[in-house]
Symmetry: C2
Subunit: 410 residues, 2 copies
């Protein structure tokens, strides 16, 4: 683990995906991230997939390298301990509601320079999750086979909870931006990041919103074709599916060479009177003719041969894998320095563990760390952060306000 954020402690009061992801990224770069949960586990504690023993593989990956404190968050005393912890550290990531006991104002009452990042649903307070903001974004009704009838075609949801992950990364950024501002000015700050705004704001940032308004209508459904450039999935002679993309002159000439279709492409150029060498626009406009001749060429070559040619030519391509294949692919996982050896996961199941996406060349990355057991660090954190004596902590445990490690839960 790199130590870029060492010395920084963050309280994360969190569930589901976006908010834990923000904490995960900070923890993977060396911050002390203390996730505080209700003693029975947060709303995401049983999130699929569960092992036979009932341990969530989702939870143990989204909460790697964090500490865990378990409190009775339905009691005033447990809530007050969480507020005190947020005050003691001065940094908070949460998806609890704006007006909950963990509002910025409530915590900042005892810590004026608090920097908090709060993930919301929609900006107006309406509830939302990745699945629902995605429905609003417009993407599901643009997704799917090009031949589907535009009027009756169903929406196709993306499986990746992309809005959650973008929001998570953005919130990690927003937290550090808030801290940078505090370092410069001494001022605290509340930063609110609505999941719905990340979705519709990304539609805007990508240019797609302007596109819709400029055109005055929706984009046609393109299947797997790339909008405004050359790229699509093809099938090799031995039935392997792969994606190619050519958004630069270099990528295009590499593709044409590797597929061995220079003559056929030149014939299309003569027929249409355009040159494909340097124009995304022409390659996109005449995509159907080009797709047909690329597929015709691909259909006559086995994938191994084609992949070798594409690699030699410097083309940009990738074979589709099922996710099970991807998880077992040495190139992606076992031989990828992103992954390290399995730590002792709460599930007891051992598998390669991801490090931070960012790597520092020539610096040892260290081994990935495990997620905590729920409540594993309750005593340590209450002692170190709030200065509670072991007697006081024991009394809180007896009262059921504080829970310790659930390692031996049935």
């Amino acid at each position: 683990m790199y130590d870029l954020l060492s010395g920084l402690s963050i309280i994360e009061a969190s569930s589901f995906v976006a908010s834990p992801t923000a904490g995960l990224y900070c923890a993977q770069l060396g911050a002390e991230v203390i996730r505080v949960d209700h003693k029975a586990g947060g709303l995401d504690y049983d999130r699929y997939m569960l092992t036979a023993e009932g341990r969530s593989l989702s939870w143990e990956n989204l909460n790697r390298a964090k500490k865990s404190v378990a409190l009775d968050l339905q009691s005033d005393e447990g809530r007050e301990l969480l507020v005190e912890l947020a005050r003691a550290t001065g940094q908070l990531i949460t998806n609890l509601p704006v007006n909950s006991f963990l509002s910025h104002a409530a915590v900042a009452a005892g810590r004026p320079d608090l920097v908090s990042v709060r993930i919301m649903g929609w900006h107006d307070g309406r509830q939302a999750m990745d699945f629902t903001v995605n429905a609003a974004s417009g993407y599901p009704l643009m997704t799917g086979p090009a031949e589907w009838d535009p009027v009756s075609a169903p929406p196709v949801n993306q499986l990746l909870p992309a809005w959650d992950f973008i929001t998570g990364a953005y919130c990690a950024f927003a937290l550090l931006a808030g801290l940078r501002h505090r370092d410069a000015t001494g001022q605290g700050k509340e930063l609110r990041v609505p999941l719905g705004d990340v979705a519709i704001g990304t539609v805007a940032n990508s240019g797609a919103m302007a596109e819709m308004l400029y055109r005055g209508s929706d984009r046609e459904r393109l299947g797997n074709a790339i909008w405004g450039a050359f790229g699509r999935d093809f099938v090799s002679g031995d039935g392997q599916r792969f994606m190619v993309a050519a958004l630069t002159a270099k990528q295009w000439s590499a593709l044409v060479g590797a597929f061995g279709v220079a003559d056929e492409v030149a014939a299309v150029e003569r027929r249409t009177g355009v040159s494909f060498a340097t124009s995304d626009h022409h390659r996109f406009t005449h995509r159907e003719a080009l797709f047909a001749l690329f597929q015709s060429a691909a259909g006559g070559i086995d994938y191994a041969d084609l992949a070798a040619r594409l690699t030699r030519a410097g083309a940009t391509f990738e074979r589709y894998r099922t996710m099970h294949e991807a998880a077992n692919d040495p190139e992606l996982v076992a031989n990828n320095p992103l992954f390290g050896p399995s730590p002792a996961n709460p599930s007891g199941f051992a598998y390669p563990a991801a490090r931070s996406f960012a790597n520092v060349p020539d610096e040892p990355a260290g081994d990935p760390r495990a997620a905590p057991y729920l409540g594993e660090h309750s005593e340590e954190v209450l002692s170190q952060r709030l200065g509670l004596s072991s007697g006081a902590i024991a009394a809180l445990i007896d009262k059921g306000v504080v829970a310790t490690s659930d390692k031996d839960k049935p």
Copy 2:
């Protein structure tokens, strides 16, 4: 615009989506982000959609609030100016190759405490784009209608360039983490973020990689159903499609109440011997029976009525919109404080412009700013950052090493 990052200057040598997004997020929070491009425009300068005048709506949204410097980056002199700008600011975001003229080592030779963030394709140097890492991730072969034949079903690409946007947000975070470390230690740092690692690493972080390895096989294709919980798209009596999600007891009871299916759900519970009230697992396992009775109820109610009921009950749901509908939806755009009035965009086309995803309650957000014309700030930046005289800059312009605003380009 909030001023959280004011005082911070960043050189962005960048193209496509991920790298400009990292700069955009910093610019929207007050950093001075200077995008340096080849004088004819970067590889993304003509990225779709183009207006009738040939201005890219994609480019002008991904580069809002930045400054633009245009140099002949095919000449040694232009490249040296870019290196000098990176040295002068000390912060660099780029997707140029590791061993290019803009390598960390080359820039750091004159600025030892440089913090650079470099977006790569795959960790091993292979080229990649969002489209191709997505093929490797496994998601496209899990996406699409549940009734498709698992063996012959085609991949379905997600249209959102999610890996680019996650990478962009992560790189903005990584840059600030590097700066925080430099503030503490005085040390510079190169942070490399491979797009491919963001993809396979997100598969891991989500728990899906562990899921595949634990199960030893792929997940079944679920269509629009949520994995491991209750949720799917339904169609109202008047043909409106909407998504619902229930991952908590509260969300579930709200849904059951709003759909008016309490008796039918109780009947399924009696028949199956399970209780749905508090179990994602049971709701997921018996989803087909539940989906059928929810759809049956929805099919008898008009959407307006159903939406009112769902809102009253506090359910989590959202109507599917086409993207053109979304762009024109007052709730999402016109009445959403995320968006501000149109600045003078390079395209000349006026439309609502997005602010930062993060908002600070009770603090004026200011108006969104326009993207620059290519080269609009060449003279200003070369003068301010490198101390070049107006005569020296004029000479560089005459030589074709520096270009000025392309506002009046044909």
